[in-house]
């Protein structure tokens, strides 16, 4: 059932794209057919892959850092009621600021290059991961804790067997959101003041007014992001049936 709907959606989007192309013409858009061809060609082009590697490298490092720091912050802050109460407005405020305005600061601290990109991507991911993880712990029903005591579990057993399982779905939601945002952050970092990477390629294509290039790059990025997100969403649904269907990153708090 779901597959049919998704296929229909893709058909609708492609049709809309095609119609838009008919309306606007070659100058402003590239047709779906041409774009897909260009994308395929790009994937086969040897010069494309170094940039992809650069972006992926930056992204993976950024995501790893975001995961580590985000989970660490979130889980510890969520453990105590007071720290959670103190931290939440701070995290929510951090969530809503246009982090791109902090990019110059990061460039000044890390200098231009990979470390800055990684840091920039990481700060995009840290906030949602920690926010969701923190709330996941805070939302654990007291009933679970009481059950653990009745069953006479040790603190570490309580943590791993009960607390983690109860909090897992929401933590995974945070990781999913963090993934997307880290990717966005990494790309964004490359769009400004970088010399390599997919973001840089995008900006280069824009300045050279190469429609086909712009659109095929965008297409590849969209496909990549959407596919991974769909995969993580499926994982989330396995863990908890009512998991994040339609909440955007800022939907909480």
């Amino acid at each position: 059932m779901r597959w049919r709907d998704s296929a229909l959606l893709i058909v609708i989007l492609l049709a809309a794209w095609q119609l838009l192309y008919f309306a606007v013409g070659d100058v402003a858009l590239s047709s779906p057919a041409r774009t897909f061809q260009a994308a395929a060609r790009m994937l086969g082009d040897a010069r494309f892959w170094p940039h992809t590697r650069e972006t992926l490298l930056a992204f993976c490092q950024a995501f790893a850092i975001a995961l580590a720091i985000g989970l660490a912050i979130g889980l510890t802050l969520g453990a105590s009621r007071l720290t959670g109460e103190v931290a939440e407005p701070l995290l929510v405020a951090l969530y809503s600021i246009p982090k791109v305005t902090l990019y110059p600061v990061i460039l000044l601290v890390f200098g231009i290059g990979m470390p800055a990109k990684v840091a920039f991507g990481a700060i995009h991911g840290i906030v949602p991961i920690s926010l969701f993880a923190m709330n996941a712990i805070r939302d654990i029903s007291p009933v679970h804790l009481r059950t653990a005591r009745v069953l006479r579990l040790s603190p570490s057993e309580t943590a791993t067997k009960i607390l983690l399982r109860a909090a897992l779905p929401e933590i995974v939601t945070g990781i999913r959101v963090g993934f997307s945002l880290t990717l966005i952050g990494t790309l964004l970092g490359e769009m400004f003041g970088a010399q390599r990477g997919l973001g840089f390629l995008l900006m280069q294509a824009m300045s050279l007014h190469e429609m086909e290039r712009i659109m095929s790059l965008t297409l590849l990025l969209v496909i990549f992001a959407a596919t991974v997100n769909a995969g993580l969403l499926a994982l989330e649904r396995r863990l908890s049936p009512s998991a994040g269907l339609s909440d955007g990153p800022l939907a909480r708090g």
Binding site: A93, L108, S180
Partner: protein
């Protein structure tokens, strides 16, 4: 002020103090960062001189346009979709994936299509915000209790008046959540876009100042953006809570 509020304030004061000390003692060199006190001072001077008033006005105007457009389109489409469940089901995966896609990747495309004026930035702000409004409108409309719809029937209201007089008023607090998000996203979209490529606006000025090693302009402007965004978002957040409380249902 609760205990949590006090601790939070203390943390912020402490961190700011640390930053100030590190800057003043030269551990953080001026080419990297200027002390917070200097930032505030420079900000006042800049605002007083009116040098960047035009940029500020442009950014605020673009953000407002993006928000308004997002609210109008989001609410109308949301209301429409809610009454067409089959169509809604088809677009569900789109909404679920929407915020995972790097919207900024469309920015070059928008620039080529819409030109180098303000439109691409407004467009990005709009694109980021509109789905949040739509989803929250859907959420609110989903929650209308059937008994209220029956009441509308008994009052013989018809489809449009039911939507305007019963469904949307009920969903209003949830739509307000959408508004809160639209504001946040519009700021992020517009300022981010200005930063990447534009020729005016606060984001542009920050990027310009950075490229010219002008920390005395860059940091105050960053501070201004942060202050405006945080203040606006927090007030909306507070307001939202009050609205929800009044309902209690």
């Amino acid at each position: 002020m609760s205990k949590a509020d006090l601790i939070r304030l203390a943390v912020i004061v402490f961190l700011t103090g640390m930053l100030e000390a590190l800057c003043r003692t030269g551990i953080i060199p001026t080419i990297t960062a200027i002390p917070p006190s200097a930032m505030v001072e420079a900000l006042f001077k800049i605002l007083a001189s009116g040098k960047f008033n035009q940029d500020i006005a442009v950014t605020l105007r673009n953000v407002s346009v993006a928000i308004t457009a997002a609210m109008l389109v989001g609410i109308v489409l949301g209301t429409l979709l809610q009454s067409l469940p089959a169509v809604r089901r088809i677009f569900d995966p789109l909404f679920a994936t929407y915020y995972a896609v790097p919207m900024y990747a469309f920015y070059p495309l928008l620039i080529v299509v819409l030109g180098l004026g303000d439109l691409p930035q407004i467009a990005i702000g709009f694109l980021l915000a509109v789905v949040a409004v739509l989803l929250n409108t859907l959420n609110g409309l989903d929650r209308v209790p059937p008994v209220l719809l029956k009441t509308a029937q008994v009052h013989r209201l018809g489809l449009i008046r039911t939507a305007l007089k019963v469904r949307l008023p009920f969903a209003a607090p949830y739509i307000f959540t959408g508004f809160k998000l639209a504001v946040a996203y519009s700021f992020i979209g517009v300022i981010g876009a200005e930063f990447i490529t534009s020729n005016r606006g606060i984001g542009y000025e920050i990027a310009f100042a950075y490229n010219n090693f002008d920390n005395r302009v860059m940091y105050p402007m960053i501070l201004l953006v942060l202050m405006v965004v945080i203040t606006v978002n927090m007030s909306l957040h507070h307001w939202e809570k009050r609205l929800m409380e009044r309902r209690l249902r």
